[in-house]
Amino acid sequence: MSVAARPAARRLASSVGILSSTSTTTQTTTASSQIPLCRPFSSTPTASGRRKPRFRNITARDLGLISQTSRKADTAVSEEQIDDFTTKKFPKYTDAEKAELMRMYTPEQIAALEAGEASINPKDLTIQGRLRTDIYRLPYIDDFAEHQPIIDKRPPASRSRRISPPDPNARFMNTDQFVSDLIEWADKFRVGEPTGTLKRLEDFVPEEWRKVKEAQWPGEVRDEAHSKFKKYLQEEINKAAKHQENGGVVTGGPTDADVLSYILERSVMTDNNIQTQSSLALALPDKVPGVAGLYKAAVDPADEGLDETGVYQDLKRRSGMSVQEILKLKTKTLVMNHVSNQTRMGKIGSMVVYTVAGNGDGWVGLGYAKSQEPSVANQKARLDAISKMRPIRRYEDRTVYGNVEAKVSGTVVKLFARPPGFGLRVQHRIFEICRAAGIYDLSARVPRSRNPMNTVKATIEALHNQKDPEEIAMGRGRKLVDARKVYYGGATQ
């Protein structure tokens, strides 16, 4: 045997099943020819030195009895599996799809598409590409085709007409500039005069004085202009009042929204009110593109005012239950514990809360939360419990299937099925869990450690990991009959 002299080659060969390990002489040769490369620190023999079974077995995986990835310890996936998945999930475009693409896109775009397809190896997608499926995933899959103002960085100035670099000559407005800016703004809303604007004082002086400031006008010119202007304003006011008396509606005029936008958005600098890309935060426009319409009022009319604070909105979205259904669930705080974290600022205490939630009809879940505020911890644990509710198996909708046992740390919980009318003869925490789950006949023992947290966890685990009679029957290929039901003519109640 040529490979017998080379331990590594032999190990490889035996692992792929070429050689059988029945020859004891070969084994002894192998063991004696092992030269340790470095001194082992552990007394456990190395993998190659461990005893091999005398009679070779065939694993269930090799026989195809269990799925390839069923063992948690063995996460290695074969190349064939990767290739299979790749060809199945990321196939090349078919001719029909190509024809459809040709119809939709220009030849240049098709070329770009093909170049893009060619640049990505589908195998990389299999190994690296992941779409999140957990409940906390983002609500969108972003291909970065659109600019989302809340999430993305602001695009460079050249890409947006509205945002330009700040005007270097802009200064804060002085009083006159401010007044004229205000008048300019207010003129937009002027009603009355057909032109939409009021006459000004300058309009009542002779032509030669119009370019000159008011302070340089001669006395008589100024007085005359003022009296005419005053008369004109009075006429305008009377005209507006008469218009209103005759049933005319005063339209235009700044609304509250206009005033607010003047206060918030109007620039106080002499930059012609242009938005700039400055270090100062910009005021939000009235409609942010990509976000407009997404923010809805927290109050959903379907809740009928039961969730004013919006506590249940996230849970509602994730569980698909309505607030009314959520409020109907039975919840109970089972364990409350104070824990503290020692920091350089001292001890920081928190409350740990375990809460059970159930619908009283076969669904139960255990929630856990920790917070410095006991009320917050309670609330969080309650919501967590509701979101973790899962169905349990119930015999005749009243007790468990057979005797169930679960172990968490040093705590063992044993649950025993009991006849109808037996009641819940169990400790108080298990009692509350049973009540939430809708179990009515049960007895339980906690023979070892009675740590409250572990008791609660083990009970939930026991309830969720009951044996399925159907599965047992199908596994053995035998018929399994509930003798009780047969005796009473198959009645379920």
């Binding site: 059988s20 029945t22 077995n57 269930a60 090799d62 026989l63 269990i66 069923s70 596994g475």
Partner: protein, 161 residues
């Protein structure tokens, strides 16, 4: 007839099912063979094949022609048992010897009928959901329900679920 080979076989089968083996072997003894056939009848294992030191070809398990046992090859014969799996879980997950070489446990018909209904009788606890008991009786190695049908008691070998 000692019971140690049965205890060893049970331990080995439990280890094998936890290691997710598909085909494993136990020593070829008459007692082991009877237990293996009883397990096969109860649906715990898929095949019982007598072969040599290497496993028979899995694809030909059903049509495998074992060579006759002779004095020349009897020492190398082993029983190859095919283990069953359902939903990636072993069908036979817990094998617990009841009788051990130190203490043999027997149960008569009356006791067995109580045990099968889930009540304790003697040293043997009642059966739980999916559990079964294997006994060595005058009529061979039987499952508890077979023994009840034949109205016999015997030596309680193993509790299997």
């Amino acid at each position: 007839m000692g019971i140690h080979s049965i205890c060893n076989a049970l331990s080995h089968l439990q280890n094998a099912s936890r290691a997710k083996l598909g085909l494993t072997s136990i020593p070829n003894t008459k007692y082991n063979l009877r237990l293996a056939l009883a397990l096969h009848r109860a649906g715990f294992i898929s095949s019982v094949t007598r072969a040599g030191l290497t496993p028979p070809p899995p694809e030909a398990l059903l049509t495998f022609e074992p060579e006759p046992v002779t004095t020349a090859n009897v020492s190398t014969r082993r029983l190859w048992l095919g283990l069953k799996y359902f939903n990636n879980k072993p069908v036979m997950s817990k094998l617990e010897p009841v009788s051990k070489p130190k203490r043999l446990v027997t149960a008569d018909y009356q006791q067995l009928s109580k045990i099968a209904r889930g009540f304790q009788a003697g040293h043997v606890k009642g059966l739980n959901l999916g559990e079964t008991l294997f006994l060595s009786t005058d009529k061979g190695v039987l499952e508890v329900r077979e023994a009840l049908e034949k109205r016999v008691g015997g030596l309680v070998l193993a509790r299997i679920s």
